[in-house]
């Protein structure tokens, strides 16, 4: 940036934030299109010790949600909304976030590959939309985070949206699995 004191109102800051939003939208739409167009797969991998890959997914998604709760708490501390800031809070926020996304990836890949974008039931439709939305929001948040000229509201809004989307994703998958089949491994 060549301006000495850029503010979030400056045109360059606005346009780079706009780019972040457009890229995020492209990620969300791209995932949805992949899910809708790719022929459904049939081979479900299983992991030793689990009854089915749906069980594996349900537990990985639960792990993701737990890490996302760590995200929410540490974010509230970073923004001074909770008392007890410690020097480790930034570290914890960063690495719980990376771990959450890493844990979500096998789940998302399995959903996209085996099931695709599903409109057969309200649960599946809501889950499909929330899944695409989540990775779009995650993209915007990472891009906004890398650019310190993005508006101050961007991180709380997109971070909060990512957390909300994950909650919906968990409720429409793991919660459904555990209430349908029992809390099984």
């Amino acid at each position: 940036m060549n301006t000495a004191q850029p503010t979030s109102e400056s045109p360059t800051a606005q346009s780079s934030f706009l780019v972040a939003i457009v890229v995020g939208l492209m990620v969300a739409v791209g995932l949805g299109a992949y899910g809708a167009v790719h022929p459904p797969g049939t081979v479900a991998i299983n992991v030793a010790g689990f009854s089915s890959f749906l069980a594996v997914k349900s537990w990985l998604a639960t792990l993701t949600l737990l890490l996302a709760i760590v995200q929410l708490v540490t974010a509230l501390k970073i923004y001074g909304k909770l008392r007890g800031t410690s020097p480790t809070v930034n570290f914890l926020h960063r690495w719980s976030g990376r771990a959450a996304v890493a844990a979500s990836l096998p789940v998302a890949a399995h959903c996209l590959y085996i099931a695709g974008f599903q409109v057969t039931s309200p649960r599946a439709l809501l889950h499909s939309i929330a899944g695409c939305f989540f990775y779009g929001v995650f993209t915007i948040k990472m891009l906004a985070l890398s650019d310190n000229q993005s508006p101050g509201w961007a991180l709380p809004v997109f971070g909060g949206a990512a957390f909300a989307a994950l909650t919906v994703l968990w409720a429409t998958s793991s919660l459904w699995f555990f209430t349908t089949f029992g809390v099984i491994f």
Partner: protein, 202 residues
């Protein structure tokens, strides 16, 4: 000023997703070389593997494919004639659905009035895909069911019976009387009166 670590996280995460999906396509033989779906906008999946490896095959003009889903609970049959298709899902006691649809290249898509769907692909020998019924999904792998195996139906004034006779001779059927389902009587496909369902049966 730019901070790089979130960008690295982003690139690694999205990159890993693309790699997992591409590996699936490359490593699972039945899935390789899926042609783009002709019915949808040809937004090419980002990870088409190399051409020619195991291209989806053209369906024969007329055939019936039958088998069970991965759990063994549900029998699935798909009958093809020309570009038309009929499918039947049946667990022999309490679940059944008749579906109709169309063939497009190596792909067949069917739908029932109830909203159940079948999406499958032909690899030159077998038909693999997923049936969805409400919240449930059933992955299946069907083989060609030459007579006496196949898909059969008998319609009376007040009831419809559907049978899937599997290539190993076992059969699964349901008698539907005005929405009340019960296990079908045993069918002898060679002597009993029943209509052999083709892709054109409606």
């Amino acid at each position: 000023m730019k901070r790089r670590s979130p960008l690295i996280t982003l690139v690694l995460a999205l990159g890993a997703l693309v790699v997992i999906l591409s590996l699936n396509d490359a490593l699972i033989p039945n899935q390789a070389g899926a042609p783009a779906v002709p019915t949808a906008e040809p937004t090419e999946p980002a990870n088409q593997p190399g051409d020619g490896a195991t291209e989806g095959a053209q369906f024969p003009d007329e055939a019936v494919y039958a088998g069970k889903d991965a759990t063994g609970e549900l029998a699935v049959a798909v009958a093809i004639k020309g570009d038309r298709a009929v499918g039947y899902l049946c667990n022999g006691t309490s679940i059944e659905a008749w579906l109709t649809g169309s063939v497009s290249g190596s792909r067949v898509s069917l739908e029932a009035a109830s909203g159940s769907t079948i999406d499958a692909r032909f690899n030159g020998e077998r038909v693999t895909g997923v049936a969805a019924r409400g919240d449930e999904q059933y992955a299946f792998d069907l083989e060609e069911a030459d007579p006496p195996a196949g898909l059969y139906r008998r319609k009376d004034d007040d009831s419809t019976i559907g049978w899937i006779v599997l290539p190993d001779g076992s059969q699964v059927g349901i008698e539907n009387t005005g929405g009340t389902l019960k296990p079908a009587p045993r069918l002898d496909p060679e002597t009993d009166q029943a209509e052999a369902v083709t892709g054109e049966t409606r």
